[in-house]
C-alpha cells in the first residue's frame, strides 16, 4: 500500500513548551491508524498537525515535515483551505451548525462550489449521509434542525459533513467518547466501512476501541512516539515495556 501521509522529525511547540518531539511515521492509504497515550501526551496535537489545525492557535511553531501525497503541507504557498478539504476532521464533541440537517451537509459543498446544480447538490448530500450511515434515519426529516438529532446521530452528521467535501483523509479526535455504547458501536462500524475509501486517523482514550477498529496503533508519551505496530501485536505482545505498562493500566 502506498503511503498517504509521511511524517518525519516533526517537532511542535506551544510557545516555549515542546509538545511533540521528533515524530516520524508513515500512514498508508486506506488504513485506520489509532493514536493512544495518556492525556497530554501530544496525540491530539499531532492529529491536528496533519491538517494544520494548530495554525489557528497563536504562538505555535512546527519543525519537520508532513507530506501528504508526497507534498509538504507546511511548505510556503500551501492552500490551507484546500488542505483541510482534503484532510477532514471530526471532533470529540459533535458540533452541528444551527441549521437543518440538509444544510449542515450542504454547507461545505456550497462554499467549495463542488456541485453542478441543485439536483447534484441533493445527490451529494444524500451520498454523504449514506456514507455516514445516517441517511435511513434522517431522510424524512432533512429540513428539521440538526439539534433534534441524538448525540450519536449528531456525530454521524458531523462525519457526513466532513465526507461531503470529498476528503481523502479523515481525522477523528475521540469521536465516540461522549456517546453511549450503541452509538459508539455505530461510529466504530462506520470507521471500518469508511476505510474502503478513506485514510483514517483516530485518537482515542478507549483502548478497546483502538483494538477494534484500527489496523495499526501508535503509542505516544510525553510528546514522543514510543511504539507503532500492527494493532493485534500492540495489544497482545507490544515491543516496548512502556506500551505494555500503559495498555495494561499500570500508569496513565
Amino acid at each position: 500500500m502506498q503511503n498517504k501521509i509521511s511524517i518525519s522529525n516533526l517537532d511542535f511547540y506551544y510557545g516555549k513548551t515542546q509538545a511533540l518531539d521528533g515524530i516520524s511515521l508513515e500512514i498508508p492509504e486506506r488504513e485506520v491508524m489509532a493514536f493512544i497515550g495518556p492525556s497530554g501526551c501530544g496525540k491530539s496535537t499531532f492529529l491536528r498537525t496533519l491538517n494544520r489545525m494548530n495554525d489557528l492557535i497563536p504562538g505555535t511553531k512546527v519543525d519537520g515535515e508532513v507530506l501528504i501525497d508526497g507534498k509538504n503541507i507546511y511548505a510556503s504557498g500551501t492552500d490551507v483551505v484546500a488542505l483541510r478539504r482534503k484532510v477532514g476532521m471530526v471532533f470529540q464533541k459533535s458540533n452541528p451548525f444551527p441549521k437543518s440537517i440538509f444544510e449542515n451537509v450542504a454547507y461545505g459543498i456550497r462554499i467549495n462550489r463542488l456541485h453542478e446544480n441543485k439536483a447534484d447538490l441533493h445527490a451529494r448530500v444524500e451520498k454523504a449521509l449514506i456514507d455516514a450511515a445516517l441517511w435511513d434515519e434522517v431522510k424524512d426529516r432533512l429540513q428539521t434542525s440538526a439539534f433534534g438529532l441524538s448525540g450519536g446521530q449528531q456525530q454521524r452528521l458531523c462525519i457526513a459533513r466532513a465526507l461531503a467535501v470529498q476528503p481523502q483523509v479523515v481525522l477523528m479526535d475521540e469521536p465516540a467518547s461522549a456517546l453511549d455504547p450503541i452509538a459508539t458501536q455505530k461510529i466504530e462500524e462506520l470507521v471500518v466501512e469508511l476505510k474502503k475509501d478513506y485514510t483514517i486517523v483516530i485518537v482515542t482514550h478507549n483502548m478497546q476501541q483502538a483494538a477494534r477498529v484500527s489496523d495499526r496503533t501508535a503509542f505516544f508519551m510525553l510528546g514522543k512516539l514510543v511504539e507503532i505496530n500492527p494493532t493485534q501485536k500492540m495489544f497482545t505482545n507490544p515491543d516496548e515495556k512502556l506500551t505494555e505498562d500503559y495498555i495494561t493500566g499500570r500508569f496513565g
Binding site: M207, Q208, A211, F235, T236, N237, P238, T243, E244, I247, T248, G249, R250, F251
Partner: protein, 220 residues
C-alpha cells in the same frame, strides 16, 4: 510498581490453577500407588476425589471468563488469562487419566500380579516430576525451564515402547496373562498421554512469557 485491581484477580487465578495442579499431581501419585501397593481403597479415593477436580476446573473457567469480561486484560495480562484458561482443561484431563489408572488398579488388584512393574513406576514418576516442574516453571514464568521439560517427554515415550514390547511378549508367551497385561498396557498409555499433556502446559508457558506459539512447530 502500582498494584492494580486486576493484579489481585490474576493472583487469585494463579492460586486456583496451582491448587488444581497440585491436586492433579497428587491424584496421579496416589493412583499409581494404588496400583503398585495393590491398595484398592486408595484407588476408590482417587476416583471419588476426581469430582473435586472437575469442580475446580469449572470454577477456574468461570473466573477466567469473568476476568476477561470485567477487567479486559491486554498484553501479558491477556496472555496469562488465556494460558490459565487453556492449562486448566489439560490438568483436568491429566486427572481423568489418573482416574483411569485407578480404575485399572481396581481390576488388576483382584488378579495375581503378573510382572514386576519396573518401567511403569518409572513412567509415573517421570510424568509426575514433569508435571510438578512444569507448574513451577509456569509460576516463575521460566520459558527456558519449560523448553527443557518438553524434551524430557522423550524418556516417557521410550519407556512406553519398552513396556509395550514387554507386555506384548508376555501375552504371547503366557496367554493366561492377557487380561492383566491388556489393562497394564492401558495404564502405560495413560502415562504416555500425561507426558504429552505436560508438554502442552509447557508450550503455554512459553506463550505466556514470550508470546510465541511453539505448538506443532519444529521446536517441539
Amino acid at each position: 510498581m502500582e498494584y492494580r485491581i486486576i493484579d489481585q484477580q490474576l493472583d487469585l487465578l494463579r492460586e486456583k490453577l496451582l491448587l488444581l495442579g497440585s491436586t492433579t499431581e497428587n491424584a496421579l501419585q496416589r493412583a499409581m500407588k494404588s496400583l503398585t501397593s495393590r491398595d484398592s481403597d486408595l484407588a476408590r479415593q482417587v476416583l471419588e476425589e476426581d469430582k473435586i477436580i472437575n469442580q475446580m476446573e469449572v470454577d477456574i473457567d468461570r473466573f477466567s471468563v469473568e476476568i476477561l469480561a470485567l477487567q479486559q486484560p491486554a498484553a501479558r495480562d491477556l496472555r496469562f488469562v488465556i494460558s490459565v484458561a487453556k492449562i486448566t482443561p489439560v490438568l483436568e484431563r491429566i486427572a481423568d487419566h489418573a482416574g483411569n489408572i485407578a480404575d485399572a488398579a481396581l481390576i488388576l488388584n483382584d488378579q495375581p500380579q503378573i510382572k514386576d512393574l519396573i518401567d511403569l513406576p518409572f513412567m509415573a514418576q517421570s510424568a509426575a516430576e514433569m508435571l510438578r516442574t512444569a507448574l513451577d516453571a509456569f509460576t516463575s514464568e521460566d520459558a527456558a525451564a519449560s523448553r527443557e521439560i518438553i524434551q524430557q517427554d522423550r524418556r516417557i515415550d521410550e519407556a512406553y515402547k519398552r513396556v509395550f514390547n514387554d507386555l506384548l511378549k508376555l501375552m504371547i508367551d503366557d496367554p493366561t496373562t492377557t487380561t492383566s497385561a491388556a489393562h497394564l498396557l492401558f495404564v502405560a498409555k495413560h502415562l504416555e498421554r500425561i507426558g504429552d499433556y505436560v508438554k502442552d502446559i509447557c508450550e503455554l508457558n512459553v506463550y505466556l512469557t514470550e508470546a510465541a506459539f511453539i505448538k506443532h512447530s519444529v521446536e517441539e
